[in-house]
Amino acid sequence: MAGIRIVAALLLLAGAAPAFAQDANAGKAVYERKCLLCHGEKGDGKGASAELLVPKPRDFTKGLYKIRSTANKTPSDQDLFRIITDGMPGTSMPSWAVLPDKDRHNLVAYLKTFAPEAFKEAPKKLELPKEVASSEASIKRGKEMFEAIECHKCHGTEGRGDGPSRPELKDEWGQPIAPANLTKRWNFRGGRSRTEIATRLANGVLGTPMPAFLEAVEKPEDIWHLTNYIVSLGPDSPQPATLVTVAAVREAIPDDPGAAFWNKLAPNNILLEGQVIVDPRNFNPSIDLVGVRAVYNDKEIAFHLTWDDPAENKGDGKATFPDAISLQFAPQQPTGTERPYFLMGDATDGVYLLRWEQGKGVMEVSAHGPTKLAPIQGGEAAGKAVFKNGQYTLVMKRALAATGIERPSFRPGVFTPVAFQAWDGGAGETGPRMSLTSWYYLRLEEPQSNRRFFIPPAVALLTFAVLGLIVRAARSRAIQ
C-alpha cells in the first residue's frame, strides 16, 4: 500500500512524465497517413486541401491551440488527445476515435515537436470558480452579465453570431473568423458541456478574437451564470426531422411569420449540407438548418420557415448576392419511386420550386438544374419574410390544387417528395453555391372530423356493457 503511494507521489512529482507512453516517431508515421493532407508536411496548416477549408486547418508550428483546459497558453496532453479523439464540431476536423488509443497518444507527442518552444512551459490547470447549478435566477443573472460585458458585440443580441463586430473579426493568422452561434451548441468547437462552455468563457479561445473573461466578470461565479444563460439559448442537439408533417387546420392561415398561430406548431428541423457535386462547390455552407412548420386548410397550403443568417442581404452582385430559400417538389406527384434528380432536376426532368428571394419575394419557379431557373407564368404564390437578430422567418403560401404540368397539386395522406435549398447571399452564396438536402417526404395529415370525439367513447361504453353482461351471466351461472 505504502509502496503504491510512494509510486503515485513520484509520478505526481515528475509532472513532465506523460501519463501514457508516447512515441513521437510512431506519431509521425500516423500523422503522415492521416493528418498531412490538411495540416501539411511541416505542420504549418498548409496541406493540399487547406485552401478549401474554413476554418483553416491548425498551424501547429506556432504551438497556439484554441481549445485548452489550462490557465496558460500550453494545452495539456489530454486537451490535444481529446480534440484528436472527438474532432471539432462545425469544422472539417473529424473524430479520430477510429485510431487506436496508442496512435492518438503518439500523435500528441508528434504534434508537440512542431513547436517545442511553446511546450517548454508546463501546462497549468485552470481553476474554474465553484460551479453554480442552472436555475431561473442564475439564467437571469447570466443574461444581465451577457449584456453588461457586451457579448452581443460579436455574438448578437440573441446569440446567433450576428453582432456588429462580426464582419471585422480575424484570427491571428489573418483569416476571417465567425463568432459562434450560441443557439447551436452542438457546433461549439470545444464541446457543448457546461464545463467546456465555462472554460471557454474563462480563458478565451487562443488565436481568435474571443478573449478571456475570468478576470472581467463582476464576480467569479458569473462565469457559471453566463454558462447557464448560454445553455438556455438553444437545444443540446438539432433533433433532426425525418418527415415533414403538414397539419390540417380549419381556420385561415396568417401571412405574418410572427403570428401566434405558428407558435402552436413544433418545427421540423431539416439539416442542410453544402452542395459539392457541381462547380462552384460550397465546402463551407453558411446555413445548416431550417425549421419547417407546415399547415393546410381546404384551400391553401403554407410553409413557415425559420433559419439563421448573420445578415440580411440584397447583394451587390459581385461579392454578395440576395439571400434565398426554396422548397423543391416534383412537378407532378410521382406515382412510383422515380423522382427528378435531387439537385434541382436535370435537362429532361425538371423540378418545381416554391422559392423566396430577398428583394423579389415568393415565386413559383421551374428548374432544370441549379443554374436553369424560370419563373412559372401565372404563378400565384404569396408570402412574407421577416429578418430579426440574425434569423429569417418566412411564410410561403399557395393554393392546394394547381393547374399546368409544371405545378403539383397537394393531396392529404400522400407521401410527397420534398427537398430544400438555401443561400446566404452575404457569404457569397448564389447559383450552385448553396446548402441543400436530398429528397425528404412530406405528408398532409388526413383532415380530422368531429367523429373522433364520439366514436372512441362509444366503443369504450359498448365494450364495458358487453363485459358487464358477461360478468353477470357468469355470476348467475355460478349461483346455479
Binding site: 496558460n72 460585458i149 460579436c154 456588429p164 478574437p209 474571443m210 478571456a212 478576470e215
Partner: protein
C-alpha cells in the same frame, strides 16, 4: 526540475555579479548626457479614414488610422527612439495606455520591462489582444466596469495592441531595456541621463521599420543625432 533550478541559480549569480561590476559605473554615469533624436520623413503623411458602425456615441461616426504622422519640418511622430544598451536610466515609472474614444492613447508607448496599466475610459467593452513573441500574448476582455488592468511585460520587444471589438484600434508598446522615448510631432525625442561613452541609438516606426546609429555621449551635454526614414 533540477536543471531549471541550477540555471536559475546560475543566472542569479551572474546577475548579481554583473550588478556588482556595473553598479559603481552607474554611479559614475550620474548626470550623463542627453541624446536628442530627430527623425525626418521625406514623404506625405498616411492617414486612413474609416466609417464607424457601432458604439458611435463613444467612438464617433468616423475614425482615423494614422499610419504615418508627419509634423512641421518633416518631423516624423510616433517613432520609438532608444538607447537599448544604456543601463541606469531613470527608475521605471508606471506607464499607462488608455482606451479612449476607441483608440489606444498614446498610440505608441515606451516602457521599461515591468508593469503596464491598461485603462478603459470608454465605458464600453474592449478587449486587449496583444501580438508578441517574447512576452506571453494576451487576449483579455475589459468590459465597462473593469476600469483598469495591469499586465506584465518583462522581455524587450515591440508589442502590438489590438481590440477585436473595434478592429481599427491599434497601439504599440515598446518594452525597452535601456532608455527610450517617443518622438513628438516635430520628430524629436529626448533621451535623458544616457551614460557617457559610445551608445547605440535605435529608432523604430510601425510601418517604416528600424534604423540605428552609434553616438558618442558626453556627460552634461546634449548630443544630437538625426535619422531619415523613407516612404515605401
Amino acid at each position: 526540475m533540477r536543471k531549471t533550478f541550477v540555471a536559475l541559480t546560475a543566472m542569479a549569480l551572474v546577475g548579481s555579479a554583473a550588478m556588482f561590476v556595473i553598479g559603481p559605473r552607474l554611479a559614475g554615469a550620474q548626470g550623463g548626457g542627453t541624446v536628442e533624436v530627430e527623425v525626418k520623413y521625406n514623404g506625405a503623411p498616411v492617414v486612413e479614414k474609416l466609417k464607424v458602425n457601432k458604439d458611435t456615441e463613444k467612438c464617433g461616426t468616423e475614425t482615423t488610422i494614422e499610419k504615418v504622422v508627419v509634423g512641421s519640418n518633416k518631423g516624423l511622430a510616433n517613432v520609438v527612439a532608444s538607447a537599448p544598451n544604456a543601463k541606469g536610466g531613470p527608475a521605471a515609472k508606471k506607464v499607462v495606455v488608455d482606451q479612449h474614444g476607441c483608440k489606444f492613447v498614446p498610440h505608441v508607448t515606451v516602457m521599461a520591462p515591468g508593469e503596464l496599466e491598461l485603462k478603459n475610459s470608454d465605458d464600453i467593452l474592449h478587449n486587449i489582444h496583444t501580438y508578441s513573441t517574447a512576452n506571453p500574448a494576451i487576449n483579455k476582455a475589459q468590459p465597462k466596469f473593469k476600469k483598469t488592468m495591469t499586465e506584465k511585460f518583462e522581455k524587450p520587444e515591440v508589442i502590438k495592441l489590438t481590440c477585436d471589438v473595434h478592429s481599427w484600434m491599434l497601439g504599440w508598446v515598446a518594452v525597452v531595456p535601456g532608455i527610450g522615448a517617443v518622438t513628438d510631432t516635430n520628430g524629436v525625442a529626448k533621451l535623458e541621463n544616457v551614460p557617457a561613452g559610445k551608445q547605440k541609438i535605435e529608432v523604430w516606426h510601425e510601418t517604416l521599420g528600424k534604423q540605428d546609429k552609434e553616438v558618442d555621449v558626453k556627460a552634461g551635454q546634449t548630443t544630437k543625432v538625426s535619422f531619415e526614414m523613407k516612404g515605401k
